[in-house]
């Protein structure tokens, strides 16, 4: 019995073509889930009796907020793997995840303020969730700025890894301190927690959109990691052969 080589795709040379083969599939799935999710969100899900039609932005807002947090943890995980096992591909993946995570954080804030205007009458409140999302965006920016400022790619990978791990340890502390700060300051004038019973169709719409965002993220991250690999390995023989074969 032949043993499975678990580390086959840990090398950029084998991962690069695999990523290229996978991207179209995830792209197609993202479009599929996106169309289904938007259809459910706009036409199937019932109108909310309290919030009217404006609540429908939930189908973008909540999945974006989920992704923003998942992706930070994913980035920290890859960064940690890169530090511990010294695998180049892990650090490249961490680099590739960061901009997509920052994008979703920004989207969550943006759609949140679009939603807040009709519901609360203001684009921004210093609510605990909004504030911690904003700080998360700053953490993404910090990681990206540090990695971009270091010319030596290997040093950049490892410095970014330390920062991502320190940030990941800090995220829960920041979340709880911000939550506490908020409750101490302004009481519960605005309550963000939704009604406990949510129409099944609303939940389905959100889940479909979350799947769409996942597929989109995977496709984009794979494409970005291909760029990172191509930039780093431009002098390696396998990439030049690949390029010659495609030309």
């Amino acid at each position: 019995m032949t043993r499975i080589n678990w580390f086959k795709y840990a090398s950029p040379a084998t991962f690069f073509p695999l990523a290229g083969r996978l991207i179209p599939w995830f792209r197609a799935l993202a479009v599929l889930f996106g169309v289904a999710g938007l259809y459910v969100g706009f036409f199937v899900a019932p109108t909310d009796f309290q919030q009217g039609e404006a609540y429908r932005i939930i189908f973008l807002h909540v999945p974006a907020a989920w992704m923003s947090m998942f992706l930070y943890m994913l980035m920290a995980l890859y960064a940690g793997l890169g530090l511990v096992f010294n695998t180049r591909l892990s650090s490249m993946m961490a680099r590739a995840v960061a901009p997509t995570g920052a994008l979703f954080t920004f989207l969550a804030l943006w759609t949140g303020s679009m939603w807040g205007r009709p519901m609360w009458g203001t684009y921004w409140v210093w609510d605990a969730r909004l504030t911690s999302e904003l700080i998360l965006l700053f953490l993404y920016f910090g990681y990206m700025a540090l990695v971009a400022a270091i010319d030596d790619p290997r040093r950049g990978d490892r410095a970014g890894g330390v920062l991502a791990l320190v940030g990941a340890v800090n995220v829960p502390i920041i979340y709880f301190s911000v939550k506490w700060w908020n409750t101490l300051h302004q009481g519960s004038s605005i309550n963000l927690t939704r009604a406990p019973s949510m129409a099944a169709m609303m939940l389905w719409g959100m889940l479909l959109m979350a799947l769409c965002f996942w597929m989109y993220s995977i496709a984009v991250i794979l494409a970005r990691v291909q760029c990172v690999i191509a930039e780093r390995e431009q002098r390696s023989a396998w990439l030049q052969e690949l390029a010659a074969g495609e030309a």
């Binding site: 700025a145 540090l146 330390v162 340890v169 502390i173 911000v178 700060w181």
Partner: protein, 235 residues
């Protein structure tokens, strides 16, 4: 019986090295006193700007006082971070220090301790004076000083991670601010919250306890992160 005795010798050596490094860093600060004083002047200028910006209404200032002093302390501590490793890195001393038998996290802790003695303690001593300008009264001032005393070591420890990561980079100072300020938000919230709680008669015990917990946690974790960052930067 031999091995414990040997370990004792090594430990004693570590203690001597630790104290030696601490003494050296403090001596360097003492020889360049102007640098340390600049941080304090910056601290008091930033605090004095707020009444000019928001108006001199005593009630408003009393509400803002704790937060303003804390934000200024955060910025002042940030400003002094480049002294932590940059000069030693520029003249090559840092590499020699890294070669010493003292474990790297302890080396980092010695340097951070020196940094805190040179900036954190003066900031703690000055904070109540500035708080008085904002009309904070006895209890509030006491809590402010206690909070700054507990919080500034956290600022120095977390700041050291940022300073070590950005060693020798272009625009390192600005980058440190971007990396470190979001991580220091809990200190700011707890410190300013403690003053607020004391002023409104709620009692600041919970805030100060959490600040102390944060200090203990950072004291355990941060030296290892600083050591990892130094190894990466000097590779």
């Amino acid at each position: 019986m031999r091995e414990p005795a040997q370990a004792d010798v090594v430990l004693a050596g570590d203690g001597t090295l630790f104290l030696g490094l601490l003494r050296r860093d403090l001596l360097l600060v003492y020889r360049r006193r102007a640098d340390a004083v600049t941080v304090l002047v910056f601290f008091s200028i930033v605090v004095s700007l707020f009444p000019l910006g928001v108006g001199a209404d005593p009630n408003l200032l009393r509400l803002l006082g704790g937060g303003v002093v804390w934000v200024a302390a955060l910025l002042a501590s940030l400003l002094s971070l480049n002294r932590l490793f940059a000069a030693d890195h520029a003249d090559g001393t840092l590499e020699q220090i890294l070669l010493s038998p003292l474990p790297l996290p302890l080396t980092a802790l010695a340097k951070v301790t020196a940094h805190w003695i040179a900036t954190g303690i003066p900031l703690t001593l000055m904070a109540p004076v500035l708080g008085m300008q904002f009309g904070l009264d006895g209890d509030g001032l006491l809590v402010l000083s206690a909070g700054v005393l507990l919080g500034t070591p956290v600022l120095s420890l977390v700041g050291a991670v940022g300073a070590a990561l950005t060693l020798g980079l272009r625009g390192g100072n600005l980058l440190v601010a971007l990396l470190i300020l979001p991580l220091n938000i809990p200190v700011l919230i707890l410190g300013a919250g403690a003053v607020d709680a004391a002023q409104s008669g709620l009692g600041a015990g919970a805030h100060l306890s959490l600040l102390g917990a944060l200090l203990v946690g950072t004291l355990v974790g941060a030296p290892f992160a600083v050591a990892a960052a130094l190894r990466i930067s000097l590779d």
